[in-house]
């Protein structure tokens, strides 16, 4: 069924009895050409582009829990392409372009809202660094706009520009950035993939990866064994656990990142705003709640919940630029598990085991990458060569010294 204005009107006249399920809840067959482990945003996008752009069939997505129950539903929904390094920026710009056409491509309303993102800076040195990053963005075809304090004051009059310790000296804006309804991304990709014949198999946990003579031939699941031509791991957050079944150790630590939603307010914050002196980012959802977050807790965790010191730290960061948040109450807070990689950048690559592929290490930048991650992973699976925007996301970059370290922190995952 194709969604359209005409369809809504005709269904309204017929009592809305003609809507069918958004995707088929498939049962596993004995063999597929492609088995994608993980039914999150990236896994579903991979299946969709594999079927749509590369014309592949016999694709399964196996998901441990329910579709979209992992990090695709636990993030702060921000999209942007404001990276600096060559290995990253073309990839994230591709992703932003795919976001711009996503709803027409999927025939699904994902509420893509290009309300803009503003990164504030608070010192001359930080301004220079942001100008450099903005230039790198422009060179890669992205948009970047340096705003003065006066421009920021007129657009965002509630910001505290006069803070004695961290005065706002200006900001780097990307007007094409914004937010997307994150659950709808999973649902939209699932629906579009399912319509192309992809089997989406929920409640199907992979419990073993079958390897014969260094060649991956299938997976063992809680719903029986499934044979596969190519097996694609796509489970960021749990990557080390799944790849351990294949005997691999990864350049990744799992960390918990907390996110927060306040009680609902009338429209206050028009786009996404980040505080440059601490680590705080904030937007306002269409329901009115302020959605915000900050640093990871900083220790290895699979708990999907964090501790109070980081809650305090994030709220202090918020108060520093938005003093008017002081009397606001938190409505919800939660944690998601991040694949924190050794250089802060992801991996989309073959593994040392034939027919076993890996996509992970997204740190806390995975949501915005969803479309490009799916497209590049599908390209790798279909052609066995990396997509032109993802050539740097290799396993061997660590031993070769080709790290993509945006923050320059070295091999310390909790600092990226």
């Amino acid at each position: 069924m194709r969604f359209s204005g005409f369809k809504i009107i005709s269904e309204a006249l017929r009592g809305h009895k003609g809507w069918d399920a958004t995707w088929r809840d498939a049962s596993p067959k004995s063999r597929y050409d492609y088995i994608i482990i993980g039914g999150g945003g990236h896994g579903l996008a991979t299946a969709y582009y594999l079927a749509r752009r590369y014309g592949k069939a016999k694709i399964a997505v196996v998901e441990k829990g329910w579709l979209g129950g992992g990090n695709i539903g636990r993030n702060t929904t921000i999209i942007r392409s404001n990276y600096m390094l060559d290995g990253n920026e073309p990839f994230y710009e591709l992703s932003l372009q795919l976001w711009e056409g996503l709803e027409q491509d999927l025939n699904y309303n994902a509420m893509v809202s290009q309300r803009g993102i503003l990164n504030l800076f608070h010192s001359d040195a930080q301004r220079d660094a942001f100008i450099r990053r903005g230039n790198a963005m422009l060179l890669n075809g992205a948009d970047a706009d340096l705003l003065t304090t006066e421009q920021i004051k007129s657009r965002y009059p509630f910001l505290n520009t006069e803070n004695a310790r961290f005065p706002i000296k200006g900001g780097l804006a990307q007007h094409r950035g914004g937010t997307v309804r994150h659950d709808a991304v999973a649902w939209g990709y699932a629906r579009a993939a399912s319509r192309l014949g992809v089997d989406i198999i929920q409640n199907c946990e992979v419990t073993g990866i079958d390897i014969k003579k260094n060649k991956c031939v299938g997976v063992t699941t809680t719903r029986g064994p499934i044979k596969g031509g190519k097996i694609a791991c796509c489970v960021a957050g749990s990557s080390s656990q799944v790849m351990a079944m294949a005997g691999m150790r990864l350049p990744i630590e799992s960390h918990v990142l907390q996110a927060f939603v306040s009680e609902g307010l009338k429209p206050l914050i028009p786009g996404v705003i980040t505080f440059g002196a601490g680590h705080f980012y904030c937007s306002q959802s269409d329901k009115g709640g302020l959605v915000f977050g900050g640093d990871i807790d900083g220790y290895n965790s699979y708990a999907q919940r964090g501790n109070l010191p980081v809650v305090e730290d994030v709220c202090e960061g918020g108060m520093a630029i938005f003093p008017n948040l002081g009397r606001l109450r938190l409505l919800r807070m939660w944690g998601g598990i991040m694949d924190m990689s050794m250089d802060g950048s992801p991996i989309i690559d073959k593994t040392s085991i034939e027919n076993l592929y890996f996509n992970g290490g997204w740190c806390y930048g995975g949501f915005k990458a969803t479309p490009a991650s799916g497209l590049c992973y599908a390209h790798l699976l279909a052609t066995d060569t990396p997509h032109e925007t993802a050539t740097a996301y290799r396993f061997d970059r660590f031993e070769k010294g080709l790290m993509i370290d945006e923050k320059g922190q070295g091999n310390q995952p909790n600092l990226h």
Partner: protein
């Protein structure tokens, strides 16, 4: 310590301390720096610097008491429940593995 008590690290010298006083380095296997003179030293150092077990379960890890006595601790902590099951001085752990300091 019981499950759900928040993270209190029972320092061997100073008693129970809030985890917020500490900074976190990572897997305690970082104590076992490879021998740089062996034939397979390059691969050993790549593994040492970049690869981690990243277990979901009891994890031995290095914490530094930055806001306290500046000692390094080896904390054994469950990464799913955050329960801390053991705390040792890192120097004791290193010496027990044959290190001189």
């Amino acid at each position: 310590m019981k499950k759900g008590d928040g993270m209190i690290i029972n320092h061997p010298l100073l008693g129970p301390r809030d985890a917020a006083e500490f900074t976190y380095l990572g897997d305690a296997s970082l104590i076992d720096r490879p021998d740089g003179m062996t034939d397979d030293a390059l691969q050993a150092f790549i593994d040492y610097a970049y690869l981690r077990d990243n277990v979901a379960g009891n994890h031995r890890e290095l914490w530094f008491h930055e806001q306290g006595d500046r000692s390094w601790l080896v904390v054994t902590r469950h990464t799913v429940t955050h329960e801390i099951v053991n705390v040792e001085l890192a120097c004791d752990v290193a010496r027990s593995r044959g290190r001189s300091k």
